[in-house]
């Protein structure tokens, strides 16, 4: 199965609801206030947010004289793909190891995403070390260990309750000695409003760069697609604390639309790099804005 097919399949539920609605709105009708309002509703229902939804419909209103009644969908597709910008897949570069720091609130799927990501790097022939820096949650280390085993990655861990920064440091040091390609640091889930925990995260990042000046090369924020407008706040606060370079959007295999990525891209300019579309070890995909929107509308 091709990547596009796979994405389409994963997004089929998202696609169905959205496209059907857009189709039914503009069936036999042109762009007018009524259809625009219905479109705005549909966008808001996809968690796009009030502001972004109003912006998209606003553009449509401005250009309504140029749009033929049959091509509203095409216009929307272009408009929304433009909002998301170019594809920014997660690629490793530079000196080894390439260090990825994963962050996010509780329960978004950080550990699972790390497991899938590790498996992907290993299957590409790279060596991977996982750093068990979630030393807070009960059995988080054990969970990561199982994923290390499944994916064929190595793991660096300390005792539960130990300093997460120290674990990350040791992992990067170990990777330097062993010539490992990639280090993925798992951190404890934390609400973005808890400043002591955000300070702890800053420290983890600082300490990583003590082991290796350019690291972490990637700070990956894991977001749950089911989350509503709060996701924008999460992105904002994590970005302020540790400088988020990319987003992994998980749980897109449900009925949630993950529309908040439009607002995040627009307000913060952070690209979505990966999407999670299932529980299987290879249900992690590169996020391609064009494909994403195409799949939404096809």
């Amino acid at each position: 199965m091709g990547l596009f097919e796979r994405l389409k399949q994963g997004l089929s539920k998202t696609r169905k609801g959205f496209t059907e609605k857009v189709d039914s709105i503009f069936k036999g009708r042109g762009v007018d206030e009524e259809t625009l309002e219905e479109l705005e509703e549909t966008l808001i229902m996809s968690d796009v947010g009030v502001k972004a939804a109003m912006e998209i419909t606003g553009h449509l209103r401005e250009k309504k004289n140029d749009i033929k009644s049959g091509s509203v969908k095409e216009f929307l597709k272009r408009e929304m793909a433009e909002l998301l910008g170019n594809a920014h897949p997660l690629v490793t570069f530079g000196e080894k190891p390439f260090v990825i720091l994963t962050v996010g609130v509780n329960g978004t799927g950080k550990t699972t995403t790390i497991g899938k990501l590790a498996s992907r790097f290993v299957s590409e022939g790279m060596s991977v070390i996982l750093a068990a820096s979630d030393t807070f949650r009960a059995a988080a280390i054990e969970q990561l260990e199982i994923w290390a085993e499944r994916s064929g990655a190595q793991i660096i861990k300390h005792q539960s309750g130990s300093d997460p920064a120290a674990v990350a440091f040791d992992a990067v040091e170990a990777a330097k000695h062993r010539g490992t390609d990639v280090v993925i640091v798992d951190t404890a889930g934390r609400l973005h409003t808890k400043s002591p925990l955000m300070e702890e995260l800053k420290k983890v990042k600082r300490v990583i760069s003590k082991a290796m000046p350019d690291a972490p090369q990637e700070v990956l924020l894991v977001l749950d697609a089911t989350t509503g407008q709060n996701a924008l706040r999460q992105a904002e606060m994590f970005n302020n604390a540790v400088g988020v370079t990319g987003i992994a959007l998980t749980k897109l295999d449900g009925t949630a639309k993950g529309g908040i990525v439009f607002a995040i891209r627009k307000e913060l300019g952070i690209p979505v790099r990966l999407i999670g579309i299932g529980e299987g070890i290879d249900d992690l995909r590169d996020f391609d804005p064009k494909e994403f929107v195409d799949a939404l509308f096809s």
Partner: protein, 438 residues
């Protein structure tokens, strides 16, 4: 930070000085803002639509109370209506007449079922009951270990098995075990699943049929967006739920999902999770969620918490001091000590509307210890009159408290800002809660 709805409505109605009845066009302008606020709080679109219609009917032609501005009047109507929709105050978990009472927790991945299981267990343990946790999540790696760890932290036994691969069998076995061990509450921690995963939903149904739980509770993340409706509906229709537990309410989520879930299922929200620690679970109060949705802060909870630490008279005295502008370092120290006895500071600060806008006040608990040390190193004269704190006094205080002159300067600066702020609040005509934490 969000501009609160009250602020928005105030500005909408600013030009409107006339009292009397709420006019249709005024109400419509106001309700446009209410609509956006509700949508931004993630209340489901369809529910917002119905809600606005209802409020409109109630508001148009309503007399504006003497003491309120038109904006406040609309907020009041919206608030009342929200509380109504959110349902009665804190319904409890009902116990079965023939023990053990079986409680089944269900929900999506990562909604917080395992932590919640331990928290509920702890609630019952505190009541003197004998709860047991059941590790029925056989899917997620290390889920069993997580519950076992939480069990040993709380001293609550955990029923688990590496041999039993079927959650239905595991759950029925656990009840037999509970009866043998004389456990009167059994809590199932089931695996997270998507509501559209028919196979796994059918599995939940089988567990429910085999064990007939007294309470089946949906554990939902307070940050859930528009999809909350679909999730709650599907869980309720497929397996039938008796109530909802809303988790991660300690963030800055506006909790619109609460309204959506309540409206779509008609089932009560029983508890809210407010932190990662095992005792951080609270009964649900509709008015508080209504406040959060409207961006009004959780003033009520704050006042309640404050009342525990302050006695009335002292609060009165403090109030007078603030108004009389004689708020000294001694008072500040008193307040700091009381605040620290009121639980994590952040939880308190989050509840105060507009607090995030105030600068210069650290939310770090360690910082508070430092501040107290600095105040302790002052002479009583210095505490009463900060104006005499010259360079050499500041150096002495820094030495005495084991801090630096910079630290001392900062504390003095913050103290002065605080005084300024208190004065501002005083001028702000009762916009603040009656009892300030400092």
């Amino acid at each position: 930070m969000f501009e609160t709805l009250s602020e928005k409505l105030e500005s909408v109605f600013k030009k409107l000085k006339s009292k009397g009845l709420l006019k249709e066009e005024d109400v419509d302008v106001a309700l446009k803002e209410v609509r956006v606020a509700l949508l931004e709080a993630d209340v489901n679109f369809k529910i917002v639509k119905d809600f606005i219609q209802r409020v409109r009917e109630k508001a148009v032609g309503k007399e504006v109370l003497e003491s309120l501005t038109p904006g406040q009047q609309v907020v009041k109507i919206v608030h009342n209506e929200l509380c109504d929709l959110l349902g009665g105050t804190s319904s409890k978990i009902y116990l079965s007449p023939t023990p053990p009472t079986v409680i089944m927790l269900v929900g999506l991945h990562g909604s917080g079922k395992t932590t919640t299981a331990a928290k509920i267990g702890m609630l019952f343990k505190r009541e003197g009951r004998r709860p047991m946790l059941v590790a029925a999540d056989l899917q997620r790696p290390a889920a069993i270990e997580q519950l076992v760890t939480l069990g040993s932290q709380t001293g609550i036994p955990v029923f688990h098995s590496k041999e039993i691969k079927d959650p239905v069998t595991l759950c029925t076995e656990s009840i037999k075990n509970a009866k043998l061990e004389g456990r009167d509450i059994v809590i199932f921690d089931t695996a997270g699943r998507l509501h559209i995963d028919d196979t796994l939903m059918a599995e939940l149904e089988r567990i429910k049929n085999a064990t007939t739980p007294k309470e089946t509770l949906l554990v939902a993340d307070a940050m859930t967006g528009q999809d909350a409706v679909n999730i709650a509906k599907k869980f309720n229709e497929t397996i039938g739920i008796d109530g909802i537990i809303l988790t991660k309410m300690d963030g800055d989520a506006r909790g619109g999902a609460a309204l959506s879930i309540k409206a779509i299922t008609g089932k009560p929200i029983k508890y809210i999770g407010v932190g990662e620690k095992i005792d951080m679970i609270e009964p649900f109060h509709p008015d508080r969620i209504a406040n959060a949705i409207l961006g009004m802060g959780d003033v009520l909870t704050l006042i309640e918490k404050a009342q525990r630490a302050f006695d009335e008279k002292e609060a009165q005295k403090l109030q007078e001091k603030i108004l009389g502008e004689s708020f000294t370092f001694e008072d500040l120290r008193d307040q700091l000590r009381k605040m620290r006895s009121m639980g994590p500071l952040e939880n308190l600060l989050n509840m105060i509307p507009g607090f995030s806008k105030l600068k210069g006040i650290k939310i770090d608990e360690k910082e508070l210890v430092k501040v107290e040390a600095i105040i302790n190193s002052m002479t009583s004269e210095e505490r009463r009159n900060h104006n005499i704190l010259n360079g050499s006094r500041r150096r002495r205080i820094a030495l005495g408290s084991g801090t630096t002159v910079t630290d001392v300067n900062r504390v003095i600066k913050q103290y002065m800002e605080m005084r300024k702020m208190l004065k501002m609040f005083k001028k702000g005509k009762g916009k603040i809660p009656k009892i300030l934490p400092f």
